[in-house]
Symmetry: C2
Subunit: 203 residues, 2 copies
Amino acid sequence: MKKKDKNTEEKILQAARQAFTSKGLSGARMQDIADTAGINKALVHYYFDSKEKLFALIFEEEFGKFFSNLAAVLTADIPLFEKIEQVVALDIERLSQFPDMPLFVINEVSRNPAMIVERFKQLPIKKVTANFQKQIDEEIKKGAIKNISSDQLLINIQSLSIFPFVAKPMLKSVLQVNEKNYKIMMQMRKKSVATFIIDAIKT
Amino acid sequence: MKKKDKNTEEKILQAARQAFTSKGLSGARMQDIADTAGINKALVHYYFDSKEKLFALIFEEEFGKFFSNLAAVLTADIPLFEKIEQVVALDIERLSQFPDMPLFVINEVSRNPAMIVERFKQLPIKKVTANFQKQIDEEIKKGAIKNISSDQLLINIQSLSIFPFVAKPMLKSVLQVNEKNYKIMMQMRKKSVATFIIDAIKT
DNA sequence: TTGTTTATTAACCATTTGGTTAAATTTCAA
DNA sequence: TTGAAATTTAACCAAATGGTTAATAAACAA
């Protein structure tokens, strides 16, 4: 039975990911996770101790997806406009793959801000933002783009990329588009959003 | 004791709003709401029957704030650029006043999409979007703005306005700004976002 | 083969939670 | 003043929930 180890563990993680990302920490049920994984509830505790700990693992995972490549692209040594195109395309591709993830992460950070503050302390954020800031300032000085703070630009980029996924059910209703067409719209945004941003800032 | 009616009712609603918007439907506790309102838990049920019904009331309220003036501005008979400025300013002003509201609404719509679909059936969305669409198409034909679908433009406007409030705790961490400075940034966005959008679409 | 370790389960347990009930208190009209 | 109606509370209740335990089954090393 020892070979089943990884198998069971993985099944639990999969079920937990599904439960937590769709219902949140307080909405998810351990019994549900066990049922979905096709095992006894006690086994979930056997493998992962408590709900909190299991949740922390899932959060870590999803949080990683959220920020993994962003820093890399942001600090890459490429022209600004190209960088914007890459960040947007990367964001939207990742979000298309894991559509529940951003709302999940946002929720849990909102409900427990201390968690993220801790995690961020170990990341070289300042380096990333300072690097980006420098590139922006240079472009402004060159007269290639209008005057804008790198913080605000970063917020705009992430807003345009992420929000349509976070608010998907609402936007689908307002705009009265079905699932298929919404996905098509998101694919179009991979290019159109970058163009939108570049047009907004170039002189 | 009859005069206390409105008073108690309002105290409960206030406590419920606080609980639901900060912790969501499943995270909020009836006992908590009663305690915050300074009354017995049974009284909450006396006035509002069930948790679900109380929640529905609060949701209705918050949802109203979300969409109240938007339709009015969108269908107003004013130039496009002016309209964009007004929508953004209105959005950000409202969101500054009720910062928990958008995440709350988005969450509950995500968890129960049927609810919003029902509600939207009674609203003249098609009229609003068709109206806006027409204005966009005219501006494109005039050559005043670039070619863009009104849906995508609407998504961009709402993304830039709402997302910074939805993701506030996360953005505060990433950008390492404190509460006061974040508020200042949001105030600046009332104008800068409109300019950003107009620059993005004008020819 | 056998004894030890690991994995899995059924049955429980304590706590929390939404909700109810019956009694007490207050209000107010007659 | 009195009695019915409305308001408020303390004490409960049943169901749900996270978690534990003790026993069983499987895996494996000797």
